[in-house]
Symmetry: C2
Subunit: 254 residues, 2 copies
């Protein structure tokens, strides 16, 4: 955990009293991803499992569709650069991260557009059913795993689970990054994403619903609130969206 | 508050019991900002005070340096488009939102780079001093103001304060957007930013420290945690950074 945190000197105030002490803050690491010699994006992230992050990010953005397309990953932690080589050199849509995932159609209706040429998002098909007791139990395991959060209060966490256990768990200062890391970990380790559950500490906005649909995961469980578009897209994309999962309570939004 | 929230049907689970009911979720609104006929960026935001958001965003990104540069703002809420005209047509740096604010130099040191040609960030100069009691009192007022958060649990809030009171307050689904909105509100209403205090519900990462420095605000108070780079940049930029301000406690990081 040493590389993910940093000890800093602080003044701790309590009512009118102050005390010089130290505190542990979470590291923020600037990482540039270079895809086939093209500088793609710079992310601010937690400096652990950067290969999972890159793999998950490329997959979520529709720039790769499987692990097999990646022929090499090389990280230079000193310089904050990660190079990815793929077997199949897809054209990167210009300003791809700008391209709107959602476009306002006529009369306030919303429609999905493809982010990249091959990146059509399909409705998630699954007959997964999970008893509520399993969700409570998974959520409790999830909470206990989040060590960096306990230490610093400054990160989000995400997990991929089957019905009974957590199969991948990652933390990151970014809500999106934490999810990209668990998706990336499953891809790299050859673990299935379909028929899995995604747990996230963060809010479920439209971008999260889309990311999850793209990976074929049928269930999102969040400790936090969803947004209106997050709920709407979950409905359209065939995802079960659970919010405010805390203790023995939860809200099912779709 | 009606346009900022949406009522959705949910299934509320409590232990093994379930109840069909409704819940209020926060609206997520896709807004495209067009600057002098150039499509600049699409933000996912809360659909209130979109003019403040656009003004604050352009200022934070270094694309305008004062309110006087803006000759017109027009919002089409149906289409989710906001047009801004400026008197002085600055060249928009290509892929400006991609450009790294922070670049890793040699040997892990970090250095600031300019985001736009005119956007050099200066160290904040201020002799503002605030007794700790005022911070506690402002924080308590800040917490009471956050109505949308109480209703939906799904938003961030930000405020600009003088020593005794909140002068601008906004909420948004985005941590950055809420801060851009209060900065934009001050700009539009001709209120000073220097010698003010920014309060945020969100984490203080490097981007927040830079945004605040650019507006000349000398003090950041956050309910949440800072990151390592957030603290480092606050130190370099002459900003007092207070984290975990809750009740009668707070940590001073710089």
């Amino acid at each position: 955990m040493r590389s993910e945190t940093k000890r800093v000197r602080i003044l701790r105030m309590n009512r009118a009293e102050s005390q010089k002490t130290t505190d542990i803050v979470v590291q923020e690491f600037p990482l540039t991803i270079v895809l086939n010699d093209v500088e793609l994006v710079s992310l601010l992230c937690s400096p652990k499992n950067l290969d999972f992050l890159a793999m998950g990010f490329l997959f979520s953005e529709g720039l790769i569709s499987s692990r097999r397309e990646v022929s090499g990953i090389h990280v230079d932690k000193e310089r904050g650069v990660l190079w990815v080589e793929t077997t199949h050199k897809r054209k990167i849509p210009q300003g791809f991260a700008f391209r709107r995932l959602i476009t306002t159609g006529c009369g306030k209706s919303l429609s999905l557009v493809n982010r990249s040429e091959k990146g059509a998002i399909r409705k998630v098909e699954s007959d997964l059913t999970i008893p509520s007791g399993n969700i409570y139990s998974l959520m409790s395991k999830f909470q206990r795993r989040s060590e960096l959060y306990k230490l610093t209060g400054g990160v989000h966490s995400a997990a991929i689970c089957d019905r009974n256990r957590i199969v991948a768990f990652n933390e990151d200062i970014g809500r999106h990054n934490a999810i990209d890391k668990v998706i990336g970990e499953c891809l790299m380790k050859g673990m299935a994403l379909r028929s899995r559950i995604l747990i996230t500490s963060g809010r479920v906005s439209s971008e999260i619903s889309i990311k999850v649909a793209r990976s074929g995961i049928p269930v999102i469980v969040s400790k936090s609130a969803p947004t209106s578009l997050g709920v709407q897209l979950a409905n359209e994309l065939g995802i079960t969206l659970i919010g405010f999962a805390r203790g023995l309570r939860m809200n099912i939004y779709s």
